[in-house]
């Protein structure tokens, strides 16, 4: 099981990951426009944007620092959830789990129904309108097959994006949190290394503020968890309708 540990306290916002991802995967551009959101001119993950660096400027210090201002920068990516909403919702079987534990959309199968777009609790998957299909990060499946790191992790100059075996990454991540706490950055915590609603994220993060600040959901849950209750409710409703129709039909 492979995955990412993204330590946001090491991110310097250089966007090398965004560029490396675009180049390696030969993805089309997003256009040149300024959003006005700090240095974030990418905005969000999308069908042709599989890494996105978010920038938060806060008028409050980071624990253990003296400045009264702080930057939060985070390279966002598909989380490759242990229980993936997109995968469980996909009606065609186009979305599969690979031997590396990643979630992969097979472009030759996807028929562009758009269900995964709404089923993703992180707003990662998107359908490209001119292409018609859903796309997202593949965890560089082609590179993993050739025993290489994903392009983003390879290009990251500060090792904010670390790729590797999930068990080892988690050990490393917990050590890092302890280290930061000892240094006075007590707000540091891990996001998604364990997560009830999704069974844990194969791409998890070390954050220094609440998830909402980074546009991450505070308590994501795979939608399929609620489906049995919905099916039961539907069963009861149609049984009621059938009973009503039968009663009406037999009464003179």
């Amino acid at each position: 099981m492979k995955g990412f540990f993204t330590d946001t306290t090491l991110c310097i916002g250089c966007k090398a990951c965004e560029v490396a991802c675009k180049q390696w995967n030969q993805l089309p551009e997003d256009g040149l426009h300024l959003t006005g959101m700090s240095y974030d001119n990418t905005g969000h993950l999308g069908s042709s944007t599989w890494r996105h660096v978010s920038f938060v400027e806060r008028p409050v210090p980071l624990g253990g620092t003296l400045s009264n201002f702080s930057w939060l920068m985070m390279s966002d990516v598909c989380k490759h959830c242990a229980r993936a909403g997109c995968l469980e919702a996909c009606p065609t079987g186009a979305i599969v789990r690979t031997e590396f534990g990643s979630v992969y959309i097979q472009p030759e199968i996807c028929n562009g129904c758009g269900y995964c777009v709404s089923a993703c609790p992180f707003g990662v998957v998107d359908r490209r309108e001119d292409d018609g299909r859903a796309w997202k990060c593949t965890l560089c499946y082609d590179r993993l097959k050739a025993d290489m790191k994903p392009a983003c992790a390879k290009s990251c100059p500060t090792e904010s994006i670390q790729f590797g075996d999930l068990v080892q990454l988690k050990v490393k991540a917990r050590q890092r949190v302890e280290e930061l706490h000892a240094r006075g950055m007590t707000e540091a915590y891990l996001y998604g290394e364990e997560q009830e609603g999704t069974g844990g994220l194969n791409a998890f993060f070390l954050l220094a503020d609440k998830p909402e600040k980074y546009n991450l959901p505070p308590k994501p849950e795979v939608p399929t968890k609620r489906a049995p209750k919905s099916w039961l409710s539907m069963g009861a409703a149609i049984a009621g309708l059938a009973a009503l129709m039968l009663t009406a039909a037999v009464t003179p």
């Binding site: 089309p28 997003d30 998107d126 001119d130 082609d142 009503l244 039968l246 009406a248």
Partner: protein, 320 residues
């Protein structure tokens, strides 16, 4: 010079990357919305992706519901003996199934791959289960047009498939990350089933000719409309657990549709309760009921889209 936004010279580089199959026309992806000064979110940007479905999807919810409930109603009437409405119901079921399939294919990103929906059987995907239900229903509804015993057996099967067809779309919607749909996971199915019953009884009510038919159809129409009004309230109440989630039912396009649905079904109910109503009034009741049922489906659909635009709906819902 390539126009696909890749900036790769084809004489120097080959396209073989994992994103190289993306058919890009140079048209850019959805632009980033205007940033807001909102320190409790990421510049007020939506956290989730908006549903990509077009109006053909909520319209399918109506047509599929109408077809399914009509098949069931037609089969119920058959238990009473002969009636012109039995055939009418079978035609609606057959036509509805065909239109449903067309509406669903119309919304696909790659239309000619519609059959991939049936590559697998996937209980975890309500959309996949729904495709099988619709296919079975379509087959049975076609068979129901054959005269004699084959038609009668097929009509029975169509009724059995028609009921889940009328309801599964609510499970499909609630099996998403969209706050208002997900929160309405148990209250939306009764709403959709009641709305399907209103759809079918509205049409039957307008078309009924004999007194005998009219008696039973009117009774059912009244019960269906009462149920729809009731389930409107229970749905609204259930999603109001988190006020941010219920917001789209009170404002914007979805709020207006939600109100319109109630007015339509309420007015239709009033006309149905008129004991010796003339034919024109029955037709008016049918039209109003139909419009109300359509408005219900579009209101829920639009509410989902609105609920995704507001990041706080998701945040508050998950924190609640």
């Amino acid at each position: 010079m390539r126009t696909d936004g890749r900036n790769i010279d084809p004489t120097l580089g080959i396209l073989s990357g994992e994103g190289s199959h993306q058919r890009a026309t140079g048209k850019l992806e959805h632009p980033t919305p205007e940033p807001q000064n909102d320190p409790d979110s990421y510049y007020g940007l939506p956290m989730l992706k908006a549903p990509v479905w077009k109006a053909s999807i909520p319209f399918y919810f109506y047509v599929g519901g109408l077809a399914g409930a009509s098949a069931a109603l037609s089969a119920a009437l058959q238990l009473r003996g002969s009636s012109k409405l039995i055939r009418t119901g079978r035609y609606i079921a057959f036509g509805g199934a065909a239109v449903s399939a067309a509406l669903l294919i119309e919304d696909l990103g790659i239309k000619k791959r519609f059959i991939y929906m049936m590559r697998v059987f996937r209980p975890s995907s309500p959309m996949n289960v729904g495709t099988w239900i619709l296919s079975a229903f379509g087959g049975a509804a076609t068979g129901a047009l054959v005269p004699g015993i084959i038609g009668d057996i097929s009509a029975g099967l169509a009724a059995l498939c028609g009921l889940p067809l009328a309801g599964y779309t609510s499970v499909l919607l609630s099996n998403t990350a969209v706050p208002i749909w997900a929160e309405g996971g148990t209250s939306m199915p009764p709403l959709f089933v009641a709305s399907a019953a209103v759809s079918a009884t509205s049409v039957f009510e307008a078309l009924a000719e004999t007194k005998r038919d009219l008696r039973v159809v009117r009774r059912l129409a009244i019960l269906a409309k009462l149920s729809e009004l009731l389930t409107h309230l229970t749905f609204e109440k259930s999603v109001s657990r988190v006020p941010e989630v219920a917001k789209p039912l009170h404002e914007g396009v979805s709020g207006a549709l939600w109100q319109a649905a109630r007015v339509g079904v309420g007015a239709s109910l009033a006309l149905s309760l008129w004991p010796k109503a003339p034919r024109a009034a029955r037709i008016a009741a049918g039209v109003l009921g139909t419009l109300g049922a359509i408005a219900t489906r579009f209101a829920v659909f639009e509410a989902g889209k609105a609920s995704v635009r507001d990041p706080h709906a998701t945040f508050e819902w998950q924190r609640a």
